[in-house]
């Protein structure tokens, strides 16, 4: 790691003030991704502003029946929180599908949102990467790209967003609360992330110096018919090749509401509202689910090593919607996919 200064923020306003005076500084909370990136010389902050002691650690019910999750709630605490287990089990399941318990004990809610891609070229400072060094080129497009994106890619970047938690948050219609030099604002989850376009260095639509303070969930939690199905190269502790968050509200066999988001396939958690709309009002059946999968993947584009992901995603979507409809969510300890 390079040398850097360290300072501890006393409150949110202090943190926002400190980063405004030092744009090369970075906030640190759990540090699980940032410290790793600093060891790899990918991140080179002048100063770390420690926000880990700020009072952003509560999980609270909101007036309209939702849930407000402080940005510093550890991933493990959130996964096992009674209100999450009871009302948003898809979120708990997605969190437990990612990382290891040690990392989940450290990683914060806000930090999970802001983790960087695990594209090998992004990590390898000896290779060009437009996300790490804008304008240097993309090594993945014509390189090893087995883990890379099949949706929403651009000439300059085919990286994926690595989070599992965020796939569930996208499906659940979460809102991100931030504080910054311009005050506080709320950002819909679908507007929080960006596609790479020709500026892949920017992962999100956060403004410079903004701090994530909370993530809020609306009341609708899909606690009855949901699943988080993650497909990866080993059974645990690996990033998704494809993951699917699927949630339904059923009236008999008729789909009243549907949510569908994918991980491991795009620069952001990939929620497809057109596929959700196509599911509404239909009978829950293999034919319906296959149509939805085809719709999600209508513009999918594979590269030399990851074209298999298109068919994998198609089957994953159908299986996840089937699991959700049957009320038999994927177990995150018994890994058999049923």
């Amino acid at each position: 790691m390079i040398n850097f200064q360290y300072a501890r923020a006393s409150d949110v306003a202090d943190a926002v003030r400190m980063i405004a005076t030092d744009p090369a500084a970075k906030f640190i909370a759990g540090g699980t991704n940032l410290i790793d990136l600093m060891k790899e010389d990918v991140e080179r902050p002048s100063r770390l502003i420690d926000i880990s002691r700020l009072p952003l650690k509560n999980v609270e019910e909101t007036a309209d029946g939702g849930l407000r999750i402080g940005a510093l709630v550890p991933n493990s605490d959130l996964a096992y929180h009674p209100l999450v287990a009871q009302r948003y089990p898809m979120l708990g399941s997605a969190i437990l599908a990612g990382a290891s318990q040690q990392l989940r004990n450290m990683a914060s809610t806000g930090g999970n949102l802001l983790q960087r891609t695990r594209c090998y070229y992004f990590y390898d400072t000896a290779t060009p990467c437009n996300k790490r060094e804008p304008g240097s080129g993309c090594s993945a497009r014509n390189g090893l790209n087995r883990m890379h994106a099949i949706l929403g890619t651009s000439e300059s970047c085919i990286a994926t967003h690595p989070s599992d938690m965020c796939v569930a948050l996208a499906a659940l219609d979460a809102t991100v609360h931030v504080a910054g030099p311009g005050g506080e604002r709320a950002i819909a989850f679908t507007d929080f992330y960006r596609l790479p376009g020709d500026t892949p260095a920017r992962d999100t639509n956060l403004h410079p110096g903004e701090l994530v303070t909370a993530v809020e969930l609306p009341a609708r939690g899909f606690a009855k018919n949901y699943t988080y199905l993650k497909i990866r190269d080993r059974l645990s502790y690996a990033f998704a090749l494809v993951s699917v968050a699927a949630a339904l509200e059923l009236d008999g066999d008729t789909i009243k509401q549907a949510r569908l988001a994918l991980g491991g396939v795009a620069h952001k958690p990939w929620r497809d509202t057109s596929a959700e709309a196509a599911l509404r009002g239909k009978t829950a059946s293999l034919a319906t689910f296959t149509q939805a999968a085809d719709l999600v993947l209508r513009d999918a584009k594979g590269f030399a090593h990851n074209a298999f992901k298109i068919e994998l995603a198609r089957k994953g979507i159908v299986r996840a919607l089937t699991q959700a409809a049957q009320g038999t969510p994927q177990s995150q300890s018994d890994k058999k996919i049923r």
Partner: protein, 170 residues
């Protein structure tokens, strides 16, 4: 070709002073002064001579560096020591009491749950955290919730058996 790496600003960075902090390590308060970039792992090993905690990958991928901070298992290689000022840290050296092995340590011996032993301090600290969390009831759940600890010798079946014994479920 290595690309030139620059900070976002061209200002040169002064080498920071070392920062004083205290840790309660295995029940004993310890004072130390470390640079901001010193990980908890390096602080334990290089500053406090507690070399039971191992450095494996140094990137949070192997679990050899697992210790408990304020009762929770974490990867000490991805933790800055300065961020844990005032915390209680438990390492493998803190488990035995008065020469008697901790039940987890004894269980690892009883079940031959290691070969080279390099991952073992991390495995045992991780298992201690696992049992305290109380979320693992079955062998499947133990395997899943211990997946952050890699054993290159492949002693996994015996590690699970040892943990089951320590949980009183063997």
């Amino acid at each position: 070709m290595a690309l030139a790496r620059k900070r976002a600003t061209d200002e040169s960075i002064q080498v920071p002073d070392k920062i004083a902090l205290s840790l309660i390590v295995n029940g004993v308060e310890r004072q130390l002064e470390v640079a901001p970039w010193t990980t908890l792992l390096d602080a334990l090993r290089d500053h406090l001579d507690l070399t039971g905690t191992k450095k494996g990958c140094d990137h949070g991928q192997c679990g050899a560096c697992t210790v408990l901070v304020d009762g929770r298992r974490i990867n000490s290689c991805l933790t800055l020591a300065v961020m844990k000022d005032g915390a209680e840290v438990t390492t493998i050296e803190g488990l035995a009491t008065d020469g008697a092995l901790h039940p987890l340590q004894q269980a690892f011996i009883d079940h031959d749950a290691f070969q080279c032993g390099y991952c073992t301090p991390g495995q045992i600290c991780s298992a201690l955290g696992l049992i305290a969390e109380g979320n693992a009831k079955t062998a499947d759940e133990i395997r899943e919730l211990m997946s952050g600890n890699i054993c290159r010798c492949g002693a996994y079946p015996n590690i699970v058996a040892a943990i089951l014994q320590a949980m009183g479920r063997s």
